[in-house]
């Protein structure tokens, strides 16, 4: 508890004791009023003072004013005990609320506790702790085991294991050695590292991430804006309703003014919108905090809200669903054995830098003699011609074969097919496929379970290769053979096919897909740790290259929205119930105070559930 909260607590205790004593003695008449005023002022002087001060500042409908009117009204009607009790109860509620909010705030900032406090710099052979902001690019800092890497840099000396969990949600530690990059915010686990700083603190990963999360509360969700707008009208309308309730029925001869006045006072107490105004942003903030603990950065409540309504998810293929590295998936020789075919192809492709060629070489036995290859000729977009062991070898796609007048069989292989011909005779093909990322299939399954209606893959690859990946992963739809500009058009088309209320999510690796990322309702960049461009372009960032975090994020988003809706219904429901009851004389001021601060506390506690979201 803060000092201020403690002070309130003591005042509450003192007033409560006085109140109980008075309740036992039950003094009446003018003496009673004087005696009851003692605990009333002990507990309520600040409320009264703030009410007066705020009216002077032109802030009429604030909660202090409303509480002041309600309790002074009760005193005027001779309900001394009620006035003191309600004020006491109100302060207890406020204290509770304040403690609950600071608790939640604390636990969220604990989640975000990746800010390094110091950096070790070596000066004259002595280690000195300095503020990370004072370290400049090119300096060498020392990171001891158990310490957090304070700035981005390259390992100049030493090797160790880093815990990146706070940044990526990934629990497996990462090994680093000399010459490799380290990212600020990671915790050094085993060895001492000397790191040459490559970025100033203000541009280091850890600062970027913290800024992002802190600024996320400025991008408000629709639900948040709705509540603030609602609050603006709610309070004045309830106050006017209270006025009407106090004076209209008595004028119509429906009972004494005092009775209606008492009911109207209840209205005033209920009219504060605090429960809503606090709990809704708190839920979103908690959701964003919970997501970032899982290595998912959400740049604003609006994106979290949109993600909860994700109906169509569009994936880029290479780098997102597949690793973008190729491997031989099938060798189908004609008239020779498969090892021979692979050897000939590997030799023909020996000098080629194409990723497909590389994968064929990787599959062939190591140590092939490059001297067996001569007269290599690359045919751009088609393949290679070469002389291997004195025989003319063609290795490439069907078009290359066709240009040499060689017929190719319809290949049923998935992925890219490399046909091979030796001395003008067809010798078979080698199929090379992009490798599907681990967890991609699981992620797609989980997304479907989380309620995503349609999953779509966009790729520049050939239809056959794309189809094979799509089938393995269980995607609903594939659009292949697309140029980068086509991808935007496809996304536009898909946007047109949305159902009402649905959102379209695009997931890419953040490289070359910035236009699509910004065109989609929500752009998700993955594997973005260390890639500033992707962090800038996307609305949601998966820090680790792990697609299974996407369904986690969708689940967190849905849970957040559920809690937000629960809180709206709970707070408004109870308030309207108490209003209705009091209009007919069934509610007293105690219930009204509960409907105000009690509900606020409940809503805050409910929002607190977001902090443990998985």
């Amino acid at each position: 508890m803060t000092k201020k909260q403690k002070k309130t607590l003591y005042r509450i205790l003192l007033a409560a004791v006085l109140f109980i004593v008075l309740q036992l003695l039950r003094p009446e008449g003018p003496l009673g009023l004087v005696l009851y005023l003692v605990p009333y002022f002990v507990i309520g002087w600040d409320v009264l003072w703030k009410a007066v001060r705020n009216i002077k500042n032109g802030q009429v409908f604030d909660e202090n004013f409303l509480m002041a009117i309600a309790t002074v009204g009760a005193l005027a009607m001779g309900e001394y005990a009620e006035a003191v009790g309600v004020m006491l109860f109100y302060q207890v509620g406020e204290l509770f609320q304040s403690v609950a909010v600071s608790r939640s705030r604390q636990s969220i900032s604990d989640l975000m506790d990746i800010r390094p406090d110091y950096a070790n710099i070596e000066r004259d052979g002595q280690l000195e702790q300095v503020d990370p902001e004072e370290v400049s690019v090119g300096d060498v800092i020392v990171v001891k085991p158990g310490e957090r890497v304070p700035l981005d840099g390259t390992v100049a000396e030493g090797s160790s294991t880093l815990d990146t969990a706070a940044l990526t949600g990934e629990s497996i530690p990462r090994d680093v050695a000399e010459g490799e990059d380290v990212i600020s915010g990671c915790v050094n686990l085993t060895g001492v590292l000397r790191v040459r700083v490559t970025k100033p603190f203000g541009e280091s990963t850890v600062t970027k991430i913290l800024d992002l999360v802190e600024n996320s509360s400025s991008k408000k969700a629709k639900a948040e804006n709705f509540i603030t707008r609602f609050a603006r009208y709610y309070t004045p309308s309830v106050v006017f309703a209270a006025l009407a309730l106090a004076f209209v029925p008595p004028l119509l001869g429906m009972g004494p003014v005092s009775m209606w006045l008492r009911r109207a006072l209840v209205f005033l107490v209920v009219s504060c919108p605090c429960a809503l105004v606090i709990s809704i942003p708190l839920s979103f903030f908690g959701g964003i905090g919970g997501a970032s603990r899982q290595g998912v950065l959400v740049k604003g409540g609006n994106y979290l809200e949109a993600l909860a309504k994700a109906g169509i998810i569009v994936f880029d293929k290479t780098g997102t669903l597949t690793r973008g590295t190729f491997a031989v998936s099938e060798v189908s020789p004609v008239g020779m054995d498969w090892a021979q075919l692979l050897e000939i192809a590997a030799l023909a492709e020996h000098w080629s830098g194409h990723p497909i060629s590389r994968s064929i070489r990787d599959a062939a036995p190591a140590g092939l003699d490059a001297g067996r290859v001569a007269d290599v000729q690359e045919v751009a977009g088609h393949g290679v011609k070469a002389v291997v062991d004195g025989r003319e070898v063609l290795a490439g796609n069907a078009k290359l074969m066709a240009s040499a007048g060689i017929r190719t069989p319809e290949s049923a292989a998935s992925g890219t097919t490399v046909h091979v011909a030796v001395d003008g005779t067809y010798a078979g093909y080698i199929a090379v496929a992009d490798q599907v990322k681990e967890g991609a299939a699981q992620a797609l399954k989980d997304l479907k379970e989380a309620g995503v209606r349609r999953t779509v893959m966009l790729t520049g690859d050939a239809p056959q290769a794309a189809q094979a990946v799509a089938e393995r992963l269980g995607l609903d739809e594939v659009h292949a053979g697309l140029l980068p500009a086509d991808k935007v058009d496809r996304v536009e088309e898909l946007l047109g096919g949305k159902r009402p209320g649905e959102q379209l999510v695009f997931v890419g690796d953040g490289i070359n897909d910035a236009p699509v990322l910004s065109r989609a309702d929500i752009g998700v960049a993955m594997g973005a740790l260390g890639s500033d461009a992707a962090i800038e372009a996307a609305d949601i960032v998966l820090m680790h290259d792990d697609l299974t975090k996407l369904p986690v994020a969708v689940r967190i988003a849905r849970k957040t929205l559920r809690i937000v809706h629960q809180n709206i219904v709970l707070a408004l429901g109870i308030k309207f119930l108490v209003l209705a009851l009091s209009a007919f004389g069934y509610a007293n001021m105690w219930m009204a105070v509960f409907a105000d601060v009690g509900v606020a506390v409940l809503a805050i506690l409910n929002a607190g559930r977001m902090l443990n979201a998985k």
Partner: protein, 71 residues
């Protein structure tokens, strides 16, 4: 230009919303956010330091005990 300041003793969420409203309407202020949760105010203006006195006045008007940490 966008700048963020810390707020001390920002006690009520509704007040934060009121401040935000009032500050947004100040001349020279493009956008403003008062976050009750992070206890921070973010101001977007062509010249932040020029509008700060008016911003502080707005805050004081809604919550006289609330302090802005100007750094």
């Amino acid at each position: 230009m966008k700048k963020t300041f810390k707020l001390i003793d920002l006690d009520c969420a509704n007040c934060a919303a009121k401040m935000e409203d009032a500050i947004k309407k100040l001349p020279g202020v493009t956008d403003a956010t008062v976050s009750f949760l992070t206890q921070k105010i973010t101001i977007e203006a062509d010249d932040v330091s020029a509008v700060m006195p008016a911003v502080v006045k707005c805050i004081r008007k809604v919550e006289p005990d609330c302090e802005v940490v100007l750094k």
